[in-house]
Amino acid sequence: MSEAATPSLGPVSSSVIDAPHVRPPLLAQSAPWLIFGLFAAVPLLALATGDSFILVVATRMLIFALAALSLNLIMGYGALVSFGHAAYIGIGAYAVGILSSYGINDLLLQIAAALAASGLFALVTGYLSLRTSGVYFIMITLAFGQMAFFFMVSLSAFGGDDGISLSGRSTLFGADLLRSNLVLFYGVLGVLAAAFLLMRMLVASRFGRVLRGTRDNPTRMRAIGFSPFSFQLTAYVIAGMIAALAGVLLANQVQFVSPAYMTWARSGELIVMVVLGGMGTLLGPIIGATVFILLEDVLAHFSEHWKLGLGLILVLVVLGSRDGMSGLARRLRGGSDV
């Protein structure tokens, strides 16, 4: 059950010690440009079709891509399956909601508050959760997520169950820039691109290599003198803070904040996004979130019981593919593991 109980000293997977001078194939190199380029062109599509809803859906995709990207840091590179990640989206969204109800609308102040609150919450709950592993870790992160959810539900001063409607979007240095959906879209795209670059740097750094090494073989990492705990906790805090940033953006997009953002079903959906796109890959979560939001939209048009379809797809994919969704995703990507 616990990883410490299986003292295999097998080889550390090759992804950790990949030689730095081997150039990745051209497609893998250009894929980020392609994806971010396509997203950057979405406003043109909205303009051409005259359907402004496209921009709204695309912004939503980018926001959830940011949240999935953050979850992937701990789940994909650290093998820490957190089932309470939506709580951080909620913390970010409530930082906007609570501060704006006190008349503080400055985006940077709201972001600072969101990062501080989520970082603190991640530090405390991560410290406790990381004392366990495997199934226990999944259940404990789930319980902490629910704790945050119930806290917000019972916070009647800030709407409780009903949530808070915001009077408008956040301002930047007093200017009402984000009021335009177009500015918000490019702003979110910029944040996602920055987070993507940060992730790429983190994963390639010494920190990222220790994290991946611990994922593949915690016993060996301890044997060669690393203490995985502090690395995992750092990753957990970073992931929580980035998800809170996604929450700040989400609150700004829909101009509404409610505990519904942090339900455990939402956490489950974030896991599905990461696995759908390819766990432990940099672009995977972005692709997964895009496909998920698209699927949600298409299925929701089709029937109000769209979750039935989503559930069927999930069960069939996991049962149908021998090594689960990650195996299926790997096969779809043509066996590359970059």
């Binding site: 406790l128 004392r131 226990y136 119930f150 696995v275 989503l310 559930g311 069927l312």
Partner: protein, 308 residues
């Protein structure tokens, strides 16, 4: 004041008994099969819906729950054969994904069949009154029935786990699954029995609670999380741990909600105490869980060995 305390303690015990009925099956499924089953709460919900449907059909709550029990057992076994059997040797992540998908399917199916508005089940005539316990303390008969039925089930489980061949295999399977299988025990059949039994216990809890709570599609999700808390506190795989932890969680939750604001009133002004009490009370069980985990990372009654 003393009466209120006793009354709320009984409520807490009754809530704990319900949690235990759901947690008992789940902790065995975790312990014996190493399977994380998010869909266990759904079986509790299905038990409640089936009881509601059969009670309406037959006009009697007793018949309703008597038909609902084998029906949930059958659904549990069908799910085991169709889905769970294929998940035992998968990673925890695959199990989370598949059982999460199963929740979406079953929750929506229930919504399609019965709609999303809550159903209510009429209280059976014979148990609708209340009983005088001591002095002027009265307690609803039906809640006493729940406590009695739960305690009887707990005793039965205790006997089964500790004094029967099936129980011996369960205990052995929880700690040394591969060895039990190597000794020639049909482990697949054992798994199926455990799963069906767990489903029936959860369905029983759902059926018993139907007359005092509303039956709605989200009821399984809310109890699932508390069941996880119970299992984590009690130690995965331990039925005894699940019992102690369930009663503990039931008492802490119920007493915290009713007496938390009252105790805080000694420290704060009434308005602030009421607000803070409302906010803190739902978090109490999670704080309890965090405290237990900090002191004993594998729960109060960890199963021995741990070599898997």
């Amino acid at each position: 004041m003393l009466n209120l305390f006793l009354l709320q303690s009984l409520n807490g015990i009754q809530f704990g008994i319900l949690l235990f009925l759901v947690a008992a099956g789940l902790t065995l499924i975790f312990g014996v099969m190493d399977l994380i089953n998010l869909a266990h709460g759904v079986l509790y919900m299905i038990g409640a819906y089936l009881t509601a449907a059969f009670a309406a059909m037959t006009g009697s709550f007793a018949y309703g729950i008597l038909i609902a029990l084998p029906a949930t057992l059958a659904i549990g076994i069908a799910l085991e054969v169709l889905v769970f059997r294929r998940l035992y040797d998968r990673s925890h992540l695959d199990q989370v994904l598949a059982t999460f998908g199963l929740i979406l399917i079953l929750n929506e199916t229930v919504k399609i069949i019965w709609g999303s508005a809550p159903l209510s089940v009429p209280m059976p005539e014979a148990f609708s009154g209340s009983i005088q316990l001591m002095g002027n303390l009265r307690y609803p008969t039906f809640r006493i029935l729940i406590i009695a039925a739960g305690l009887a089930t707990a005793l039965g489980l205790y006997f089964m786990v500790n004094h029967t061949r099936l129980g011996m295999l369960l205990r052995a399977g929880a700690t040394h699954g591969a060895m039990v299988s190597a000794l020639g025990v049909n482990i697949r059949r054992l798994f199926m029995i455990v799963f069906g039994l767990g489903a029936m216990l959860a369905g029983f809890a759902g059926g018993m609670v139907a007359p005092i709570l509303s039956v709605d599609p989200g009821m399984g999700d809310s109890i699932l999380i508390l069941t996880f808390v119970v299992i984590v506190i009690g130690g995965v795989g331990s039925v005894r741990g699940a019992f102690v932890a369930a009663i503990l969680v039931g008492l802490v939750d119920t007493l915290g909600r009713s007496f938390g604001p009252m105790l805080l009133r000694n420290l704060l002004d009434p308005a602030a105490a009421a607000q803070m009490g409302r906010t803190l009370a739902p978090m109490l069980v999670y704080i309890l869980m965090a405290a237990v985990l900090y002191l004993r990372p594998t729960g109060l009654f960890p199963m021995g060995g741990g070599t898997r």
